[in-house]
Amino acid sequence: MRRIVAAGDRALLIVFGDTMSPETLADVLTFEATLRRVKPRGLIGTVPAYASLLCTYDPGITEGASFQRQLQTLPVPPRRRLRRAVHEVPVRYDGPDLERVAQHARLSVADAVSLHAGTEYLVYAIGFAPGFSYCGVLPEILATPRLPSPRTRVEPGSVGIAERQTGIYAVASPGGWNIIGRTDTVLFDPRRRPPARFQPGDRLRFVPA
């Protein structure tokens, strides 16, 4: 069951659930694909993340109330399957927090690496900063809290862990995730279309390089 709430006077947030699950993400992406096909008047953009979808609109073209009605009555097809293809991301597991993550999990560094690399992840959102890829679900044993105070600069390509998520920094930014490795894969390029390498719904596997 989805809920539509205003997010100010230029956006609506559609909430599909409150858990990180492939099914809920599939609901979000199915709705988004329908919206992008139907293109209601005044729609500016859509932003999927985990269990919700933000729809921005231009109130100069469509009134908020009528835009909301359009979303409520949108004929949404049955849940679409997520993409099957798995992207491989080569990673050098040499991050500054790798040892601490392994200690936290009571594993050897080698076991922590093979557990991280041995799991297939789903991209749940691209957000926070350009191209940052939020992936889940991390095996519970590797779950590690964020750093008590964030680093002022995390290098592009850094692979991190925060709670049950793993993610990749696409551009240099401040960040509080535990950095366990780094990839040379370019995740964001403003000249490319789409500019981000991955999209929500993509599957990833990290390969030790």
Binding site: V5, A6, A7, G8, D9, R10, A11, L13, V15, D18, T19, M20, I44, G45, T46, V47, P48, A49, Y50, A51, S52, L53, L54, T56, P59, G60, E63, G64, A65, Y124, A125, I126, G127, F128, A129, P130, G131, F132, Y134, A170, V171, A172, S173, F188, P190, R191, P194, P195, A196
Partner: protein, 310 residues
């Protein structure tokens, strides 16, 4: 061409930004005070979305190689009076200096700043390090191309200080408070229901001082004694104007260059008609939030848009 003689505290090129690219993690960007940027453009006959120079706290010094028409809006400086289309001779230097009232001043140049578009916009994307001409705030030695004028500005008037409102700028100036305490209008949501029953009412009854931790991405507000009982939320897309509340009771208001997703619940959202006030609020000012409906918010916005014939 315009040469940057000194860069100022945090001087960036801004136009309407990149709305629609948030799904790739790209912030919409654009002026922190969109009304002042649009008004400055209107004064020199530019499209309201033409690229301008956004100055924060201490502005740049700009040398104009060719004659130009400029207008300043937003925060007040001692450079030239706000609200006037001002003619500059070739070789003239415009020293913006300190912003004395308000926080951000917009410099519009007739024809617009013509740095290249990246992803459809000339605005700086700070986190992505692209756009804005150089992928960073302006620095000494940067050269800014000026575009071709598309429309006639109101006739420029070579005015002495203090007499400058004949070119039509006065009508904009009346719209613009520049000092706090600020009353900022919000709509409830999207996560108001994740908070305790009284939290929203207490939020509306609290005067929040702006902390020094404020930039184009967001501003942190902290009121002693303001605490909330919020349930955790899953990472969610966020918008400009969103007021996130952290577990320690700090309120973070997201501005133009905001991150595109966030993990803190959003107790209320500042309406777009009042985003310009957030762009002018200084550390130490207090902000008081007042709730309005969606219909009121959209009426307030369309009244502001009406100044630019939109």
């Amino acid at each position: 061409m315009i040469e940057v003689v000194s860069g100022g505290t945090w001087t960036t090129i801004q136009d309407r930004g990149r709305p629609g690219w948030e799904r790739y993690g790209v912030s919409p960007g654009g002026p922190a005070d969109w009304f002042s940027a649009a008004a400055a453009n209107a004064l020199v006959g530019n499209d309201p979305d033409a690229a301008v120079v956004e100055c924060t706290l201490i502005g740049p010094t700009l040398r104009f190689r060719r004659e130009a028409t400029v207008a300043l809006m937003g925060g007040e400086t001692l450079a030239i009076e706000n609200g006037i289309a001002f003619p500059l001779a070739a070789g003239a230097e415009l020293k913006i200096g300190r912003v004395r009232r308000g926080l951000r001043t917009y410099v519009a140049v007739r024809g617009g700043i013509a740095v290249p578009r990246v992803m459809g916009s000339r605005a700086l994307c700070q986190l992505g390090r692209f756009g804005g001409g150089f992928g960073r705030p302006l620095e000494v030695g940067d050269q800014l191309p000026v575009g071709k004028a598309t429309a006639q500005p109101p006739p420029p008037l070579p005015l002495p200080k203090g007499r400058g409102l004949r070119s039509g700028g006065g009508r904009f100036l009346k719209r613009l408070p520049l000092v706090g305490p600020w009353e900022v209008r919000v709509m409830a949501g999207p996560h108001t229901s994740a908070f305790g029953a009284d939290d929203f009412a207490r939020f509306l009854n609290t005067a929040f001082p702006v902390t020094p931790r404020a930039n184009r991405m967001g501003m942190r507000l902290r009121a002693p004694g303001f605490r909330v009982q919020a349930t955790e939320i899953l990472t969610t897309p966020v918008t400009q104007g969103a007021v996130q509340v952290t577990p320690s009771g700090e309120a973070i208001v997201l501005l133009a260059e905001h991150q595109t997703t966030g993990g803190y619940p959003v107790i209320a959202t500042v309406i777009s008609a009042d985003w310009p006030l957030l762009g002018q609020a200084r550390p130490g000012d207090t902000i008081h939030f007042r709730e309005v409906s969606l219909a009121e918010a959209q009426r307030a916005r369309s009244r502001l848009d009406g100044w630019f014939g939109q």
